[in-house]
Symmetry: C2
Subunit: 352 residues, 2 copies
């Protein structure tokens, strides 16, 4: 074991602050990574504040962060994919059983024996896993991704969660040239969805409650922006969408969007509103439409997404912050006051 | 034009009674059919009582019936598919534009210029279409189905709506040998779903609120029956279904069934509860599950379904009634007091 610098929360109402955590020395299959940037995901905030106590209670101290980009500092003797000096990335998962049907299908995110990157039982230490708000991390090479050399690293970090979360359902539901794709909610996830749908060749329509987001949506790659409160504008698009990605976690009228799908169209939820959605069966029955959900993506697809980003020069739009500003960033996140993701420059941790 | 005997309702609160209606003489593409049996669908009752006044107000007199089986009596000069004496069937549709993308895809049920079998503007007469509670009907040959010669005709009639409504989504979502399929609601639709899923080679589980239906479910082809009110029994099946067909129109907890789907599993709604369903996004997100709807099927698939029924000797379980008992049958339908579909023997109309 060795000591790593990190930022952790001591309790649900405590701010994140500087601390030291024990990391394992790399075993033969492990990669040790010096973390350069870590994105700030809304999940980090939920977990730190124990807002998921029903399904995933927080163990303190909690070190969040699952949008990790860095440079390899050391590798175990059996590691073949990486060597010291390589760029590397880690997302929401750090281990799985590798033998179940889900793992064999390349869908490790559904493995019943998955290990999440933070606040999850750690079979190596007997404690919990610690995430990317830290100067280093040690991860089995199977869960370490290669990073294209041409991308800005601060903007690459959020690809590991916000990126794959939006890329995966688009690939699964066949977003491609000639398809009409809607994106509901232009935040951390939504702005990535716009970039991917555009790069995949689709006609991209952003739905927004606010006309003020129009210019930004067009800049990100949208072909049209529809003000979702304007029933007349909405009805012009009735029955015309092949796919809609809904990244809104607030309560909203899902039926209004289902009605915009064409026959066999799909709407995928990647945000999970707290309250149940009020769903009219009629909208699904007419047109054989479907409503589904999606969560991150498997390791192979995450690598595919990163390679796609390299080819298309796609990164997240980020506001880079020092780790010392992370509590302030959380407050701003609650007000959606970020375009579109905070990325922590981990060099700032050296001074702690 | 010629006069046909029929049963019609004069208003939303009137019983059905004997009447005479004008039918067109067959044009060159038409098939005239002597109706032998007509199934009683819950939609007939909704339409007769004007319970869909918001979307499809009833025009009186209304002659319902869209599960029609009979014998061809006359054909137009251009008719190639049928000749006098052939068995023939008509379902929920009698015309479509034939040129739109939906028609070209063989999905006439989604054609924007569809003509339904009853209570729909009739381009030939300028009035509305009259359904199968009648001694004859005249339909364009494109919407007339061939009937396998080995099937009981009374039990064949319900295949035209209850049959295709359950067969189509099973084919669309890949029900086949080795798949685990659930059926929610053992009524007119549900009992057909059990027969089809069994014949397609699936492991079939019927969900019922009542243990009294168990023997019947097993007789129809179910491998297991789960009492849906028993949380312990339900949880044993968590994450295990490839496909669930939900034929319940009453308000019910859809999330309990979504949780039983495996990764990429689908639940299709063929009943449309009046109240919106309360849907938890979480159940869809975990496991990339999908929820969809389906309505009848295209003409080619309806023919495929009838041929499949011929091969597998599948018909609906029916209680045959004379037309004079149809009002009583409606009352019993509201109490689910039928196993599993009423089929009207249209010979009874001769005495009117």
């Amino acid at each position: 074991m060795y000591n790593a610098k990190a930022y952790s929360a001591a309790g649900a109402t405590s701010p994140l602050s500087s601390t030291s955590i024990a990391r394992r020395d790399p075993t033969e299959h492990d990669v040790q990574i010096e973390i350069l940037f870590c994105g700030v995901c809304h999940s980090d905030l939920h977990q730190v504040r124990n807002e998921w106590s029903g399904v995933m209670p927080t163990v303190y101290p909690c070190v969040p962060g699952h949008e990790i980009v860095g440079r390899v500092t050391r590798v175990g003797s059996a590691v073949t994919k990486f060597r010291a000096g390589d760029l590397a990335a880690v997302g929401c998962m750090v281990d799985s059983d590798g033998t179940c049907p889900e793992c064999k299908a390349g869908l490790e995110q559904f493995c019943p024996n998955l290990t999440l990157t933070y606040n999850f039982p750690d079979k190596h230490t007997g404690k919990v896993t610690y995430g990317g708000y830290s100067d280093s991390i040690v991860v089995d090479q199977r869960f370490v991704l290669r990073v294209p050399s041409n991308l800005d690293l601060a903007g690459t970090a959020p690809l590991l969660c916000a990126g794959i979360t939006t890329y995966s359902p688009m690939r699964h539901w066949g977003v491609s040239k000639g398809k009409k794709v809607g994106v509901v909610g232009l935040g951390g996830l939504g702005h990535m969805a716009v970039k991917f749908a555009h790069a995949l060749g689709a006609h991209v329509v952003v739905f927004s409650t606010s006309p003020s987001k129009k210019d930004d949506a067009l800049r990100l790659g949208a072909d049209e922006v529809v003000i979702s409160r304007d029933a007349g504008e909405m009805s012009k698009h009735a029955g015309s969408f092949d796919f809609i990605l809904d990244a809104v976690s607030a309560d909203h009228d899902i039926n209004a969007y289902i009605g915009l799908l064409r026959r066999d169209g799909n709407l995928t939820l990647v945000g999970a509103p707290e309250k149940p959605l009020a769903l009219s069966a009629f909208g699904l029955i007419m047109g054989r439409r479907s409503l589904s959900g999606s969560i991150i993506g498997g390791i192979a697809e995450t690598q595919e997404m990163l390679d796609f980003c390299g080819q298309h020069k796609i990164t997240s739009d980020v506001e880079v912050i020092p780790i010392q500003k992370v509590n302030e960033a959380y407050d701003r996140l609650l007000k959606s006051d970020v375009k579109y993701r905070f990325s922590i420059d981990m060099a700032s941790l050296k001074s702690e």
